[in-house]
Every structure is written in C-alpha cells, then in structure tokens.
C-alpha cells in the first residue's frame, strides 16, 4: 500500500492492523510547498517518533492529522477507512488528539476550563457543572502525577505547567491516536520522565502515540518505530531497534555530520575584551577573563548561573556594581550600550524573536537596523543603501529567503538567526557576544551557523559565546569558562575540556550524580 515502506517492512507479519495511515499527502501555501509527500503509518500500542529538521514538514503533517489543514492531495485512512476532516472537531471525533508545539491555552480562563473547553460537563438545564469539571481535571492531573490547581486562571502559568495542562487536555479525549509536537522542549527531566510513563500507560491501553522531538535520545528511549522526513518528503520508516542515531541523522540531513563543528586552527592575537573583577550585586561576583582576536571563549554553566547577565553587564544593558571592562585597552563606561557598540561590541541576544529582531519589519530593514547611522543622508535613511547592505550580508550568510521585502517573521528560525548575525556583523565589530547561537535551529542550519562563526573567527573576530549545549561548547570553543552561582569555577582549554569536567564545575557536584 505504501511503496516507500516496502523496503523496511520485513517485520510486517507481527504488526497488527494500523489505526492510522497517511499516504502521499501534499500541502502548498501559495508558492511554498510545505509538504510534498507526507506519509506515516501508526499502529495501536506503539509510540512512533517523527523526526526531521525544522521545515521538513513535520508540523504541516501534524496539522493535517489534526484537521487544521486539509491536504491538497493524498489519502488519510483511519482503521482502513478513508476519511476527510473538515476541521479540528472532526479529527477529534475520529479519536485523534494533538498537543501542539506552542501552547494553545486561553489565558483568561481557568485551567479546568482550558482542558474541557467546548466539552464542559453539564448539569440540569445544560448548565456547566464546575465542581465536576474541576474534579475531572484533578483526576487527569493525578494520572500525570502532577499538582495543578484546576480553578486558577491559565495566565501566569509557567511554560511547563502550560504544557501539562495541554497534555491533560489531550488525555481527556481518551484518544486512540495521541500526537505530541515537541512536548518536552519546556519540561524538566522529572516531568519528561513522567510524560514517558503516561505514554507507556497509554500504549498499554492500545493507543498509538506520534511523538515529534528534536531530542533524538528521547525518541530512541521511548518509541518503537521511527519515521524520518526531509524537505517535505517521507524519507524512511523503520523499527527503532533496526537503526542507530547516526543512521537517523544521516537520513534527516541527507549528509554526514562530521562538519557539524568545523574548527579552523587559529593563533589568538591581541586582547580584545578584558574583564576584571566584574561584579553585579547579588547576580555575579569577581568575574575576570580575556577574549583575544581569533578565539572563541565559551561561558558554560547552568541556567541561572549568571552567564547572560555577565554578557548584559559587559554590553552595558545592566549596570555593574564594580569592576571594569576594556575593549582593546579602552575602558567602557558603565551602563551605556551605545558606547559599547561604538567601541566595537555586538550582542546577539538569546531571545531573537523578542530582543534580536523586529518581527514585522522586512528582512533588509532588520539587517540595516544597527547600521542606520551609516545609511543616512540629510537625516533620511536611503532605502537603496539599506537593501544593498542587506544583500551583501544575505549572500555572505547564505540566507534563504523569498524576498527582501518580506517580514522577517516569514523566515525559519535558523535564517532569522542569520539576520540577527548579519545585523551586527554589518557594523564590523571586533567583539561578538552571542547568547545561545543555535537554540531552536535545525541541525543543518546549526552547522551553517557554526561554520559562519568559525570563518569570522579565522578572520580575526573575537567571540564570547554562551551556550547551554555542551556539544556546541566542546566543538566550538577555544577556551571554556564555567560559571556557577555567579562565579567562575573553572577554566578549560579546548584540549582539557570534556563533558564531565564542565558538568562537575557547573554543578559543584559529584560527576556521577550529575549524569
């Protein structure tokens, strides 16, 4: 029935009848082909991982299953019967329940109402039975092993709690097919573990689970089958025991990942950034280090250790209590970002959507944003110069875009990050501070961003990188500084640094317990 699957269908005889089959679904949005061949087969009692880079078409496939988008062509079978969904309600009625990547809560309504919206338990006169609604919400939370007040409003819930409410909502449908689009991104390890227990429980009750995640190890730990997509197309499907992580990565990106962390050997030049005894009361204390031309220094540590705060203080967004910051021997005034920019410091923030980009402005306007002073004539910004500048950087950064005039929000996460990079590089900085350079970026673009950074450093840029991804720190940095509770607890050279020693310094714990 599905020609793609035949080559890996040797285990076919032990499979029960699939509960859901999507065959060759396509979906276009205007000129953009979001999905060219969406195919997946879900079996009851099985957790199925759907893997692929950002933009591979996973979310579009999910939305077709959810009834949010109708496929342009292709076929969807439930229990072998072809079905067509005219909306989310129809999909839900067919027993499909979806947890979306972005929480879809009503901030002004209570948690219980969020779970049962449109299906609130009723009492006489078709009135909503709040007591019973809250009780049922509590039952769901008990199944998840979490505590959440069903009667509080959703506004102000932490991201993890929002996700829990979403999961409770999905559970409340008693769905036969549960689709989870990156459910673990915001959860702590304990919560993820609990979620996996719930998935196991659902499987034993015969439900099919479709699990979409960027974390390959999660897919391997909790799923029985895996389907890989690339560029909007089905690539392969296999039982998890028949494949390795390397196999999967190769199918995802269509190339080898040896080039994930390119590193050109450079000889560090003169000191660009010199930080001495930097202190911000109650946040970090006695921070001293240097960054030289042609080297990447990574700040590692747990979230909350003060890494981003150090960067903000260097750039002047936050005031320092004491200590000094020098750029090429020149002391920076306290709390003056403009002075830092003039001195040649660029800061690519962690949250590019909120702090790095003006999402509704066009691509070229965003690139030019930090260089407007150079583009002016008689106080007016010259559009042509703006575009020229943007085109130069788009070419250098291999930006993938439809039109320069499009809003930057139309770009994928990785390309958005390139725009932020381009915006700052256009100022020809001598020091680049980059906070989480590849967070939320797919594997392929990640490698591109790494290659870019490597190239810039080879040309003599000094980079201070903050990263929570240890492979990135180990792969990119010439030196690693580890922060713990606002203090530098260790410094490693590239040769000395390894996962264990960084973890030990970051946590101050026994490394065995840390793993």
């Amino acid at each position: 029935m599905n020609q793609h699957l035949t080559d890996e269908r040797d285990a076919d005889e032990r499979d029960p009848a699939p509960v859901l089959v999507l065959e060759h679904a396509t979906k276009r949005f205007g000129e953009v082909r979001a999905l060219e061949d969406g195919s997946i087969t879900l079996y009851p009692g099985e957790a199925h991982a759907l893997l692929g880079e950002n933009g591979a078409g996973k979310s579009t496939l999910v939305k077709i299953l959810a009834g949010v988008h109708g496929a342009d062509s292709g076929q969807l079978l439930i229990d072998g019967e072809p079905v067509a969904f005219n909306g989310p309600t129809a999909s839900r009625a067919a027993g499909i329940s979806v947890i979306y990547q972005e929480p879809t809560l009503f901030p002004d309504l209570t948690v219980a109402e969020n779970i049962f919206m449109g299906r609130q338990p009723l009492r006489a006169g078709r009135r909503i039975d709040r007591a019973s609604m809250n009780r049922r919400a509590n039952e769901l939370f008990a199944r998840l092993g979490v505590q959440l007040d069903p009667d509080r409003i959703a506004r102000g819930l932490s991201v993890a709690d929002q996700q829990i409410a979403e999961i409770a909502k999905a559970l409340s449908f008693n769905a036969r097919v549960l689709v989870m689009d990156e459910p673990t991104a915001a959860l702590t390890t304990v919560e993820v573990e609990r979620l996996f227990e719930v998935i196991r429980a659902l499987r034993t009750q015969g439900a099919a689970v479709l699990f979409i995640s960027h974390r390959l190890e999660e897919a391997f730990a909790s799923c029985q089958r895996v389907t890989v997509m690339r560029d909007g197309r089905f690539t392969r499907s296999a039982l998890i025991e028949d494949v390795t992580v390397d196999d999967i990565i190769r199918s995802m990106v269509g190339r080898d990942l040896d080039a994930m962390f390119p590193k050109t050997a450079t000889v560090p030049g003169e000191v660009v950034l010199d930080v001495a005894h930097l202190c911000r009361e109650g946040v970090f204390d006695d921070i001293s280090f240097e960054v030289r031309r042609g080297e990447i220094v990574a700040l590692a540590g747990l979230v909350g250790a003060g890494r981003s705060e150090v960067a903000r203080a260097i750039f002047g967004i936050d005031k320092r209590t004491s200590g000094r910051v020098r750029i090429r021997g020149l002391e920076l005034p306290n709390g003056r970002p403009l002075a830092a920019m003039k001195a040649g410091v660029a800061l690519v923030p962690e949250d590019r959507r909120q702090q790095g980009l003006v999402m509704d402005l066009s691509i070229d306007q965003n690139v030019a944003l930090a260089s407007l002073g150079r583009l002016r004539r008689f106080g007016l910004i010259r559009r042509s110069k703006e575009r020229e500048l943007a085109m130069t950087w788009a070419a250098r950064l291999q930006l993938k875009f439809a039109r320069m005039r499009n809003a930057v929000s139309t770009l994928s996460g990785g390309n958005q990050q390139k725009v932020v990079l381009g915006k700052w590089l256009a100022r020809s900085p001598s020091l680049l501070i980059i906070d989480e350079p590849t967070r939320g970026i797919d594997v392929g673009t990640k490698a591109e961003v790494h290659r870019l950074l490597d190239g810039l450093v080879a040309e003599g840029l000094a980079v201070l990188m903050i990263s929570s991804e240890l492979p990135e720190v180990l792969g990119m940095a010439d030196r690693v500084l580890v922060l713990r509770e606002g203090r530098i607890t260790a410094e490693f050279t590239r040769a000395e640094a390894d996962e264990n020693s960084i973890m030990r310094a970051a946590t101050g714990q026994n490394p065995a317990a840390a793993a």
Partner: protein
Amino acid sequence: MSTAVITPTPTARPRRLESLLRARELGIALAIIVVFGLTTLNNHAFAHASSIQQLLTGAALIALLGVGETMVIVTRNVDLSVGSVVGLSAYIVGDLFKHHHQMPVVAGFAVAIGLGAAIGAINGLVTTVARVPSLVVTLAMLYIVRGIDGVIVNGTTIDPGSIPQAFITFGYRSLLGIPWLAIIVAVVVAAAGYAMRSFRWGRDLYAIGSNPDAAALAGIPSGRRVFTAFLVSGALAGLAGALFLAIHAQVDVTGGIGYELSVIAAVVVGGVAIFGGSGTVLGAALGALLLNTINQALVATKISSFWNEAIAGALLLAAIAFDRWLSLRVARNLRSAEGAHRDL
C-alpha cells in the same frame, strides 16, 4: 544533548492575583459606597430615596447597553453603533406612537428590539463574514444610522403629547420604591451574567477573546458566537432606545449621541478587558453606576459638572493602569518561573 542536573522546586502559584481580579466588582461597589457616603456628608439630601432612584435610573440605560457591549468586547471586538441605534430606535418608536396612538406598549418595545437586532445582525455579518475589524464596521454603522436618523427626524421632535401615557409612566414608575427601569436592567444583567458564566456558548465568548487561534483549534464556532454577541448588543441598544423615549417622553435628532463612549468607559472601568477575554456584565453595570454616581455627586456638591468628564477619564486611565500593572506582574512571575524550569 541536554541533561538536567537540578530539578527546581515548583514556584509558589500566585493565587492572590486571581482573587484580586475576582474582587474587581467588589472594588467598584466599594468606590460607589465611598462616593455616595462622602457626598451625603456634604449634602444630606443625596441620601434621599428620590435621589437614589435618580442614581439608578440615570445609570440604567448605560448599564443595559453595557451588557451587550461587554458581550462584544469580551470577544475582542467593539460595538460603536449603540448610541445611534438608541437615537433611531427612540425616534421610530415615538413616531409610530404618534401616528398609531392605539398601538399597544408591548408593540413599541418589540419594534425597538427588532430594529436594534437587525442593525446588530448587519454589524455581526460584516464583521464575521467579510472579516472587517469591528471597530471600522461599527464606526461606519454609527454614522450610517445617525444619518438615517437625521433624514427621518428631519428637524422635528416627538413630544410627550404624542406618546401614550402607559408608555411614559414606564420611565418613572417604581415597584416598592425601586424604579421599574432599574429592575428591568437588573434582570437583564443577572440573566446575561449567569448565562455567560454557566453556559458553554458564554464561555466560548471568553475563549474567542482570550486566544482566537486556540478557540479555532478547540472547534469553537467563532463566527456564530461573535455574530450572536453583536445581535444581542444591537437588540439591547434597540430596547434602550424605547426606554430612552419612556424616560424622556420626547426625542429629537440628538437622542443617544455620545452614548457609545459612555458605555465603553463604563465597561472598561467595570473591569472588562478592552482586548477581550475577561470581565463581567455585573462589573460593567457597576461601572455605569459608579460613573453616574460621580456625575450626580458633583451636582449635589455644586462642583462644576465640567469636572465630570475629567473624572470619568481619570477613572478610565486608573482602570487601564491597574490592568496593565496586573499583567506586568504576571509576566514577571512567568519569567522567573520559566527560568527555573529550563535545563542545561
């Protein structure tokens, strides 16, 4: 790639905020009592029964319009046409009575409600089917209806003599000392408030305003619900027009001018979020009562009534500042909680 090392303890949940939000109606009620008390100290006549009746009657129309406006605003829309609907409905009902003196009072109300509902239906259709922002649709409707009103009125006035006595007495009759008007409005407020809290379609209205995308995903028929909200708002504006005629016993082309802004002021002061999702009709009605109490208090204490609008404006700013402060606080809590949840 990421391995969690430390599992943070869950942060304390900000329950107090929620109770603050819920106490909004209580706060307005308190403000009414304070204004009333202070004014009575200054001028003892303010506490007389007739004066209190005047307070209720004066707030009744705005409170009634506030019910429909709340339903609309809660869905992240707005109805600016209510003032001109009041004027048109009042004049048409008056004109009908003038030419058909034997027409029953009930028929007058029915015509008023039907007329308002028809205009509300057009507002709702254009907003939901053509997907034009309701601000524009109802602003256009405000002018259209006002224009039609001007043509029909053509400089004339409906005077008390042409309206049946039974209809006029409706404006000032009272039951056990409570004006009929206030009773009607109280019943409408109670019914609408209960419905919006206890029926699925009522919760749908809040859901649509709170997160339109999520409402679509939850399978809520947003178009139908928003249409209904405009229909109710229009019908109530029509009813308010008939009551306007009953109170004033006369109407000309200026009837109901500026009501739309008074209504929105009352609704926002009453704690209905201007961007939808939260607020109650009870709050809106209390907001109308508070604004009218302040208005009458200024008269009673012989302070220039020009202060009235300035005070209404200041209250509006205070209400919005309070909401803003609340949401900023929530955002701050959210950020710290989020930080605690992330892994290395």
